[in-house]
Symmetry: C2
Subunit: 269 residues, 2 copies
Amino acid sequence: MTLKFRELLEQRWDESGSLLCVGLDPDQARIPVEYHHHEDGIVLFLKDIVDATAEYACAFKPQIAYFAAITAECDLLAICEYIREAYPTIPLILDAKRGDIGDTAKMYAREAFERYGAHAVTVNPYMGGDTIQPFLEHPDGAAIVLCRTSNAGSGEFQSQLIDGTPLYQHVAQRAANEWSQHGDVSLVVGATYPQELAEVRAIVGDMPLLVPGVGAQGGDPTQVVTNGASSTGNGLIVNSSRAILYADGGIDGAARVAKETRDALNAAR
Amino acid sequence: MTLKFRELLEQRWDESGSLLCVGLDPDQARIPVEYHHHEDGIVLFLKDIVDATAEYACAFKPQIAYFAAITAECDLLAICEYIREAYPTIPLILDAKRGDIGDTAKMYAREAFERYGAHAVTVNPYMGGDTIQPFLEHPDGAAIVLCRTSNAGSGEFQSQLIDGTPLYQHVAQRAANEWSQHGDVSLVVGATYPQELAEVRAIVGDMPLLVPGVGAQGGDPTQVVTNGASSTGNGLIVNSSRAILYADGGIDGAARVAKETRDALNAAR
């Protein structure tokens, strides 16, 4: 039987001793020059990144926009299949931030879980819980719902107070108390807002939190772990994409930055 | 020079005398049987739909999820190219409900405007205005921002009061007063919430509103026009997808329902 996202993630946290998620955002302009002349340069680059960083990773997270912009869905599929086959114990998160009415959401669930074989997909809560449900009803599905995102303007709506409580905390409450029936809901909270990370952790118990914003976006690993870890000392999927992929020193540099980031996170546990 | 979305739309409203947008959601299970055995069945079906309904349409709106679920981006590209070439005066809206941090949003803008040649793309406001900006900064770009969506659970967050005003009205205010610099921002407001449609119209002046929810979702065309039309009597892009695509009588039925829907909308102007 195939493990679902939450079980796989719990096992991987134990097995790897890592909270680091390696984000796969292949920007053609930044891929090392030695891959430029290969027909499958993106796939070769990402496979090398995956091989070099797997031992430091609790998850991999390809960002679909980087593939969709350049008509490279076949490359996304190739790297997803490679991760599933070569590293079957590492959860595969499709970062797509989908969200739509029920029948359309079912199509997005097919895209994430059937086409790409992801264990979980990021989704947007603005349209309400009935648009998240189709992702959870899929037999292979899990949803990672945007709560407090890492960008500078994320407070514009997410921090607005509703009955004295910011919107992102309402999202966290719904996620914890209503949407999550079988551990199949997680949340996105940016490393760039460590105080909010602590507030969300207080609401959601041991729910996994996907935390973008360390690395290129400047979030502090120590604060993330101090404020965001669960009662068991894990609970975090801390993503770094560009700082690893485009490290000085190419693939060796990527491995070094992945190891350093894992170690920086572990030093605070 | 290529007209941008808003200018093209204004011209098309005048030229067609129609407020109807034909949504292109090709569900394999519901496409007429005569297309099932063609290799390019989806494209042939959609071309026939486009040809049969163009005279009644102020816009076409393909829904990307229906193509992404079945590895049919090539079909989406084919129908987008067909619309651009055969009906260059009809605005092409990509329904994708994208939204992500700046660098990723730029990739989604490339997907919508460069890859598929859309005049506008639907986007989600939850992450804040800085995630909408990349769609507006693209030289060919326009954004249609989710405001009050047509689904039953849309009120879960959108109707929550912030300083006494529901969230969707805050989105409308930002769209009208901050994000829209050159008429390049529109909003989505569901036909299933006619009172909210009137409230949004009062906030946004003559901004175009994309209104899903007539047809299969049950919204009333008369209420939509009465509550949603702009001061010039247009201002609306009223979408119907399934009620047209899967009408009794195949392609002829689709043309009939499109004409009836256009007429029902016009009867209330």
